[in-house]
């Protein structure tokens, strides 16, 4: 990271940056900054939710059929995996608050493992979609869905919109997961080196907020993409 004034390092503890009056001001600033950043993330995903809402209103049949074609078991498991990771993050912040270094490292590592598990399962699902030719583009083909759900009137063109949204939303969510895992690897390294103390654990807490947010996005994506319409077909 970039150099700060050496004078500041002499005056305060190493984690207090020179331009803050005290540690509390610094922590409050970091917290507000993180929450504001999450607010921008809400709007970032909000653009896609807006597109989703409109097309679901227009093309409900195709959305229902597309939703049925997703693997609900993998989806549910993935939701559970993310919830577990949120737990380990919450416990990790607690460990940091109490200054339990080893526990913190273990919990952060567990979070990373859950993160990779989520991405792995997501990868399997994507690969299935690839095999089924459900990726929008020239090779897109939903004859299987038309055959599987004769009761639903499917226009293949509109089905592409559902899958476009599916890939855009889960893809950008996965990107956030990858960034999150990166942040957590970084946090683990410094936690292992003992940088975080009960007095200074802001990075752990901020990383945690980010991770929880990514979890919440998935909490909405799961019902919106997987659970549109699963009731028995007449």
């Amino acid at each position: 990271m970039l150099s700060d004034s050496p004078i500041a390092v002499e005056q305060h503890g190493p984690e207090l940056l020179h331009h803050f009056v005290d540690a509390e001001q610094q922590r409050d600033a970091a917290s507000l900054g993180m929450w504001l950043f999450l607010a921008t993330e809400v709007m970032f995903f909000g653009g896609m939710f807006c597109a989703y809402l409109i097309y679901r209103y227009w093309y409900y049949n195709e959305f229902a059929a597309g939703s049925r074609s997703l693997d609900i078991y993998l989806g549910t498991i993935n939701t559970a995996v993310l919830i577990c990771s949120s737990l380990t993050v919450a416990l990790g912040v607690r460990a940091a608050q109490m200054g339990k270094r080893k526990l913190l490292v273990i919990l952060l590592l567990l979070t990373i493992v859950f993160g990779f598990a989520f991405l792995g399962i997501k990868g399997v699902e994507w690969y299935d979609k690839y095999k089924e030719h459900h990726i929008p583009g020239n090779s897109f083909n939903v004859d299987d869905l038309v055959k599987d759900y004769p009761q639903i009137h499917i226009d293949p063109r509109h089905e592409q919109i559902y899958f476009s949204l599916y890939f855009a939303m889960t893809g950008l969510h996965a990107l956030h997961m990858i960034i999150g895992v990166g942040i957590f690897i970084f946090l683990t390294y410094y936690a292992w080196k003992g940088r975080y103390t009960p007095k200074y654990y802001t990075p752990v807490e901020m990383g945690g907020l980010y991770w929880h947010f990514v979890d919440i996005v998935w909490i909405y994506l799961f019902p919106l993409l997987y659970l549109i319409d699963r009731k028995p077909l007449r």
Binding site: R27, D28, S31, L32, W35, L36, L38, A39, V42, M43, G46, G47, F49, C50, L53, I54, Y57, W58, I72, G75, T76, T79, A80, I83, C84, S86, L87, V89, A90, L91, R94, Q97, M98, E205, G208, L209, H212, D215, I216, I219, Y220, F222, P223, L224, Y226, L227, I228, D229, R230, K231, P232
Partner: protein, 95 residues
């Protein structure tokens, strides 16, 4: 943001609740409730999100009003985007 340290048991309780809600929402989707299916799914998702925000993200215990204002404004702005866009789409057939 607070020094408040929760017991680990408390976190496990929230975790169990979240897992249960996940199973419930997946199961309910197989039951035909008519248009209520969507409502139930979104209500459960919102409860889950609230649990995470309030307890895992410590918003319930923060003394900081500003955090809550930021969250509420983010949701409000998202609502503006959705509502005013839908205002167009929902009324197009009328004219």
């Amino acid at each position: 943001m607070s020094e408040h340290i929760m017991s680990s048991k408390f976190y496990y309780t929230i975790w169990i609740a979240l897992l249960c809600l996940t199973v419930i929402t997946a199961a309910v989707s197989f039951v035909d409730l008519g248009p209520l299916n969507t409502v139930v799914a979104l209500v459960i998702a919102t409860i889950k999100a609230l649990l995470v925000v309030l307890f895992f993200m410590h918003v319930k215990y923060t003394s900081e009003k500003l955090t809550k204002i930021v969250i509420v404004s983010a949701i409000f702005w998202l609502f503006l985007l959705l509502a005013l866009s839908m205002a167009d789409y929902a009324t197009r057939l009328l004219s």
